[in-house]
Symmetry: D2
Subunit: 359 residues, 4 copies
């Protein structure tokens, strides 16, 4: 109800403020018997953590995860899995200068309006720090999906006005982690890095898109009519901080096609019913059809910039504010594991649900 849970069967609940004691996530509904370790989870968290490279924020946080419950002798118990990440030096800073100021395009104002007061330290609950919990839970979801053979590959497909112009099918996803921007084409990656580095030096920020490609998804995932697979993916993506758009398959460009061009013709290949084209993006009528699922996610440029900006405070006084210190000039490289995590959470939930769809 209050928005801190996601999923039906495989259901997570996250908690914690950015500068409180710590953050964490409870996973309820993970089947018993899955092998999982803190190392499995840490691996994914390290892909999201700050301070990874020169193009992400220079803030250093270890984001060390602890499994507090739900795993015994290396395997899930079927009971709630609690993952906890203690915050580091959460008390050290002085926040008096932003205490009653509404930073532009942040959530300060809306939290104040909704709740009557707020944790002004680093955005509190509205900070993207919360997404570490999603990545942690997503690591377990991914392990379960591996058990069923699914593979999820997200990557940076555009930064600002620079777009990766290679069709998904021709990409080598083993290259994604080989550069700091997480774009599977190295030539494009280097240009993206330069763009971001320039923005960092200017104290500015850049947006872009993350794309995701899912292989080996079985047919049958998705619950019509409201819980169509693409609907839940859309919700999952739009729930990530800074996301402003989602398109699946042909997406917005498909609106400029005719039906006679856009329809995916069925054919039989290797004794399996497949489609010749895949404008549908692997989903028809809200249910996966066995073809690859792919979608794009739009991220706005991050709101934190190191430039002077005008704003107002709680007393409705106009003032100037100046961002300072470390910031993320472009969240996209760190968003890749978040997009993968949210995709994994949707897919495992729907895969489990689908086990109940027929006698």
């Amino acid at each position: 109800m209050a928005g801190n849970s996601f999923g039906n069967i495989f259901r997570i609940t996250t908690f914690g403020e950015s500068h409180g004691l710590g953050i964490g996530v409870i996973i309820d509904g993970c089947p018993a018997g899955l092998e999982i370790s803190e190392a499995d989870i840490q691996l994914e968290l390290d892909r999201r953590k700050p301070g990874q490279s020169k193009i992400t924020t220079q803030r250093k946080e270890g984001d060390k995860v602890i499994i507090q419950s739900g795993v015994f002798e290396g395997k899930t118990l079927g009971t709630p899995i609690s993952l906890y990440i203690a915050n580091q030096d959460q008390k050290s800073k002085d926040y008096s200068h932003i205490k009653d100021v509404f930073r532009p395009s942040h959530a300060d104002f809306t939290y104040q309006e909704k709740y009557g007061h707020r944790d002004y330290r680093g955005g509190g609950r509205s900070s993207a720090r919360e997404t570490a919990c999603r990545v942690a839970a997503g690591a377990i979801a991914k392990k379960l999906l591996q058990h069923y053979g699914l593979k999820i590959n997200a990557f940076v497909s555009s930064v600002y006005n620079l777009k990766l112009d290679i069709p998904f099918e021709e990409l080598d996803f083993s290259q994604t982690e080989k550069n700091i921007v997480r774009c599977p084409d190295d030539a494009t990656a280097q240009k993206m890095i330069d763009l971001i580095d320039k923005a960092r030096k200017d104290g500015d920020s850049l947006g872009g898109t993350v794309s995701c490609f899912v292989e080996n998804c079985p047919t049958g995932l998705g619950e019509p009519v409201f819980d169509k697979l693409e609907a839940e993916l859309a919700k999952a993506m739009l729930s990530i901080n800074a996301v402003k758009g989602f398109e699946i398959g042909s997406g917005f460009s498909g609106t400029k096609m005719k039906g006679s061009e856009h329809n995916d013709i069925f054919e039989v290949k290797a004794n399996k019913i497949q489609t010749k084209t895949n404008y549908s993006g692997g989903i028809q009528g809200g249910i996966s059809n066995g073809m690859p699922i792919y979608f794009n996610v739009a991220f706005k440029p991050t709101a934190t910039i190191i430039q002077k900006q005008s704003t107002v405070n709680e007393k409705k006084e106009k003032l100037e504010m100046q961002g300072k210190g470390r910031h993320d000039p472009c969240v996209l490289p760190r968003a890749v594991p978040i997009v993968e995590a949210m995709t994994a959470l949707v897919l495992i939930d729907y895969l489990l649900l689908n086990k109940l769809s027929k006698l």
Copy 2:
């Protein structure tokens, strides 16, 4: 769980197959005391019904709604409201020719895979006929929202390669219903109608976008972190048949902006905190900030076309099929009330939830 319900507090459940006895919707959680009549609901249904004009399907269905429960002496009782629409001549047709055929880009194949059998008559549950129930429930949601002063305006903003190129703020929404394509600019509307009419004659179909603009939304709607207002809107839109994309505020074009350009600067106007620009689309940190909410929804060209297409059947045999009879060359005009209904369902649910956010 099984995907036929939507909403938390104001929660609807739809049922019914396209060619069964009828379709309907139960609304649970509508507060008691709201004045509502069958006429209020019929008004919205008539905007969605087939056979309205030369550019929609020529199929004629009255879509006459009955209130079966939950309303007494003209006012809601606080008990479930059941709305029912009987199907007309549902038995008359012969479906043997498509009984075991998978129509391209329809849900025939995925339903068969998921459920093991399916109602092959006109798509059964996967038919867009189900959206009539959403419009009916949405009519009640709209009435409640009126009580709180909100206004929802959806309209056709592009058809195929033709785009309405007037900023939202300059549009006169009173013009939307004045033409059969539901575009508030008459000059553009006439061109759209011509495009659609041409497609109809070709037996083809066209996609496009519906945009939605919400005025007078109070601050505080949206439940962080997973149930951000834009996340639920995205889900609501992607749950509509044929939708392939959603973008809010600056959307995909915002990915090509810098933070210093994109940030919405706060200012005080008429003693209210507002933003100078509105790239955020009225939502920050998942919560409405009082500015207008606007978003675009991408519809693919409808899958039903009156042309010969190749496909396969349940026995994995290749065959040719030929669509026949009446079809919707472009769903967009009829999608406008559906987008409004889904928007209303999200907003009323979140408005009610928000009453509980602080002491």
Copy 3:
């Protein structure tokens, strides 16, 4: 949220006022492929309908059920199943005499307080007529449970001060339907009938208990810690009109035992782990252990009596009211199928959920 739905996976939503157009139930989450007919459902409804015998209300209603959706060619589609029962002569009566009067121990006063107005015709939504929908949905749940081998037997175990004094294990449940009071021991049944008939003549009403015995329940049903199987059964039973108590296994009498007497000792029988005694009632730690599940449900005497009673009206004026016409002197015989239905709804929901508990 608003209380008209029950179940997680196999989820039902009921609607309708006692004297409105009709009542109905939507079942969402029933697996596809189950054979079901209107006759299967009618069979159970006929066990609950009014006018069955001299000891139930003499009101005659056919309670004829229609399947409106979700079943095609005799089998469930996996889509929502809508069952509808039209009300008969719902307009014929004059209710002006009770319009603003609060009948003692009815829900008139509380509905008025909660909702601000109410359907005063025969109790509206608070009428036990709603339970017909539970019985209808329960008929489908029962069919599914049969598929898994479970058997549910409810019966009247006491009326007023007369108690059936035979241990569950010695009862022959094939006798339950052989008498009008639904007690499997004929000698006791006759005495119960006499008691009820006497109350009827006095214009009074009697309470009693319904007991339920479930055979062949597999191990593993129940979701600790809050959704223990007995917790959900308790909720299911207490949600039935007029129920004031629930006890499972040793129940209240078990509070007067010592642990050394009460513990159920495990033993191996027919190569299966079983317990020697079954004070636990087939559930341990909230999860079924494979032994028979049994419980008792307490029904208060019905509030409707044909005697003069003092009460107040909406204006807080004192007045006398006199019940008239047909009434149920004892709801227990008609409550038997309701208890079975609610038990079936809990068990099938938990059986489906349990399919997801381990890898």
Copy 4:
């Protein structure tokens, strides 16, 4: 779904195994602005903790609670509140002797069946240690209820065959905490203590009943038809370890009354509509009527006894086991705060829900 959450609006999720790192609870949906401190919560936890007196288990655990999130500057933020209790010396013990043994009337066997493996250390998740989390969350629920004026008083009303024979209305609840058994009548309390002490010396255990009396509950709480207030209370109580029965108002004894005796006659007192008698237990039609709510909860004698018992192990071998060390000869005194906590969780959830029932 998986059973570790409770509540709709004010929703808690507990986690943790008895002998793992720790246990905890997330509260989602608590309104912002409530003053709460660790001391408020600790107060209630201390009433439940082991080692309080000679009649509870002698095991010593501090049960020291930490607020990890959701509270800032002394007030709730509207974000999830995470409460954590570290387990003490969780590694010190040797469990090899019970590793594969199914203790009689414990959850060892059913967890093994459901999940395929289990945490055998002290019962793992099935241990009543989990209820500490309910008490912690309940402390916050109680604080909110105080804000609305409600008062919840639970107490031990019987132990074994010894029953407190004073009507609820005549009890002085300020006496409940004055003795170690938590019975508000001191003379009865002393006899109960003697009974329990005797059982402890015998290595045996005793059952009994806890009763609960709620004052100042407003009208309107309860969501018909499935989520009747008494139904949710029943579920809440039956979800507590060792509970076997629940009865509200007249309960099982009401089944032996006639309608003419049992009906609660309305009257106007102090310009308020009330009932002369209160057999209904403060709830009619599933909705609170403003009269005191009262109910009884049956606890079986605890399964852990210090006596030799026969049982079987995972290999289906028969063996003798001997409980040892510290045990709770009677859980009732420590169950009192648990019953209060679960009552508070139900009432605050329904009180919040009820704010949405009418325009």
